[in-house]
Symmetry: C2
Subunit: 140 residues, 2 copies
DNA sequence: ATGATAAATGTAACGATTACAAATGTGGAG
DNA sequence: CTCCACATTTGTAATCGTTACATTTATCAT
């Protein structure tokens, strides 16, 4: 499985050496844009890189997060997901099938109550049922 | 340490038997309203109830969540926090001192992109520095 | 009191993540 | 090219929050 997105320059710009594993992991995220877990990333890349270690996936992702190339998502408390899109947007997770969808949004935070605070990071996520799972529930 | 808030009726209404431990745990949340971790709840209540088990804290909280009396917060992936206030509001966590503050907000989700989806739950949280920690940083 | 049922407890198991030491790869000096 | 220092990767063990499960304790109707 080869992903045609070249992320070499992106890594170099951020002072991260573009090793074989790092390139594969970051281009996987850039190509798929699927908010995967470490488990998913590992399982899909281990075919390409039989010697791949899960530790390397964790290490690389943490490097990317430090550099601001990737954003971690804490939608579920027991599984971190990773997003190549670091722009400000929300996430919807279907509690039936687990798929995650991006959505755009505008947050209006009451500025009076937050004066004096320095906000560095905003996170929004919703949970519910996706259209497909709603359909399936009707049939049963 | 005695919390004067009587949550007996609240439990009965939700078909949860008001045992000694459950009353203590829920009234702790109702009185403090401090978004504590299980660790915090356990440490502060074990003085009152020397036989208290952490499992009981987990079990009780999960009961409360099922009944909608309490909302779990996944701000950090490795620690669930518990909120007695189940109304729609956002949370700010200071990345220096860890304190969590409520804030009111209005989310405008682009309805076109979410048509067909059933949204059951919205979550918003921010991270940054609280006023006190900003002050301390300036001094150093 | 007695026995049935529910709740609480203690310990073991689990799963995601990190720590750490050993193995492997890389790149430059000689 | 060979050797060596250094960075990266790998495998394994440790950690930590949470859950599973079996045992003990409490509650309550008979
Ligand atoms: Mn996204
Ligand atoms: Mn709150
Ligand atoms: Zn779905
Ligand atoms: Zn602070």
């Amino acid at each position: 499985m080869i992903y045609d997105i070249d992320v070499t320059e992106e890594l170099i710009k951020n002072n991260i050496k573009p090793s074989y594993q790092r390139l594969k992991i970051l281009s996987y995220l850039a190509f798929k844009r699927n908010h995967p877990t470490v488990e998913q990333i590992f399982n899909e890349l281990v075919d390409d890189i039989p010697t791949l270690s899960k530790t390397t996936v964790y290490n690389s992702l943490n490097l990317f997060i430090q550099a601001g190339l990737v954003k971690p998502l804490n939608i579920e408390d027991h599984e971190t997901r990773y997003d190549y899109d670091t722009s400000d947007h929300g996430h919807f997770k279907c509690i039936e099938c687990g798929t995650i969808k991006d959505f755009s949004l505008k947050i209006d935070i009451d500025n009076d109550s937050m004066s004096g605070y320095e906000i560095l990071e905003k996170n929004v996520y919703c949970k519910g049922y996706c259209p497909r799972c709603l359909e399936n529930k009707k049939k049963i």
